[in-house]
Amino acid sequence: MFSFFNKKASAKTAKDRLTIAIMSDRDNNGAFPFMDQMKAEIIEVVKKYMGVKAIEIKKEVVGNVEALSIDVQLEGKD
């Protein structure tokens, strides 16, 4: 009976999940339109010294603190 109820309520789950996902999408794309440019520049800087395979930049919010986490994957060691 309970699982039956859950199944029926999934539209609500969809709305909640979508609201959060879209808010975060808008944040990342709206607030940082320069993100691609910044990525490219960081890659250039790191490349001067070592090989770069990939880069990922994420905005994280912990309590009142907003932070950028920059994850640079280096080339080599395959």
Binding site: A11, A14, K15, L18, I22, R26
Partner: protein
């Protein structure tokens, strides 16, 4: 000057091309001159939905490159003399699109037609960006389903930052079409309702299309479903076309359709 409308969705497979064909034909049936242009280069499909695939000789890339005139490339619809169609190139790739050439094409078309409707490719890459670049308005097509709605929001975000109108300090008016609504699933809480979707995307609604098996049959035959007055989806498209032509058409409750019994009683009193 006619109005340039881009039909966009972000995600593929939500009914963008079907929508372009139906509202294009619907506008033409409202006695307005309308041209539909397939911007999905390399994946030409609007010709099949309109039943015009055998008439395509020249495509929009050849027009943009000056190899042929617009008149040579335009194909007249069999269903309305007011509707013309310009095919996408099937052999070239999206890199052939250039802003200057697109501007000239859509501006030239808008001199001769009341409505210029551009069918955007799926995704949010350059092909999409070029389609929305010179649009005055956009029709956003979504399905009541999470990936479609999220992708549509991204596509809207790009529209709001990269279109020429926005760069000039203006705004591209957006209209939402919710396609493939399954009324029973909405009623039982298994599918997002249109209120939910409007809350999330916050752009004005221009129409709701119920799921309709007739859509497949219509595309099999190359006859847009708007021609079938007995089809729920066809009538929904007709209402959208009328709204786009400036008519006040009340919104029908697609999600809570009157059942057969109530309908009969209503008809008795008419």
């Amino acid at each position: 000057m006619g109005i340039i409308i881009a039909v966009i969705s972000g995600k593929g497979g939500v009914g963008k091309t079907t929508t372009t064909a139906n509202i294009g034909l619907g506008i033409a049936l409202n006695d307005k001159k309308c041209v539909v242009v397939d911007f999905d280069i390399g994946q030409r499909n609007l010709d099949m939905i309109l039943g015009l695939e055998n008439r395509v000789v020249y495509d929009m890339v050849q027009v943009m490159d000056g190899e042929v005139t617009i008149k040579q490339a335009l194909i007249k619809s069999k269903m309305s003399p007011n509707l013309h169609f310009l095919a996408a190139s099937q052999t070239k790739d999206k890199s052939v699109l250039e802003s200057g050439k697109i501007l000239k094409l859509v501006t030239d078309l808008s001199l001769d037609y009341d409505y210029v409707i551009l069918d955007a490719p799926a995704g949010i890459e350059t092909g999409y960006e070029h389609t929305i670049e010179f649009a005055d308005r956009a029709i956003v097509v979504v399905n009541p389903e999470v990936s479609s709605i999220r992708d549509a929001d991204r596509a809207i975000g790009i529209l709001d930052s990269k279109s020429q109108k926005v760069k000039d300090g203006g705004e591209v008016l957006k209209y939402l079409i919710i396609n493939r609504i399954n009324p029973k699933m909405v009623q039982s809480g298994e599918m997002l309702s249109s209120e939910d979707i409007l809350d999330i995307l916050s752009i004005p609604l221009i129409g709701k299309i119920p799921e309709d098996k007739g859509i497949i049959d219509a595309s099999n035959q190359g006859k847009p479903i708007i021609l079938d007055h007995n089809s729920d989806a066809g009538r929904a498209y007709a209402r959208i076309a009328a709204r786009l032509c400036g008519q006040e058409v009340p919104f029908e409750n697609v999600e809570m359709p009157e059942n057969g019994f109530m309908k009969k009683i209503k008809e008795m009193f008419q």
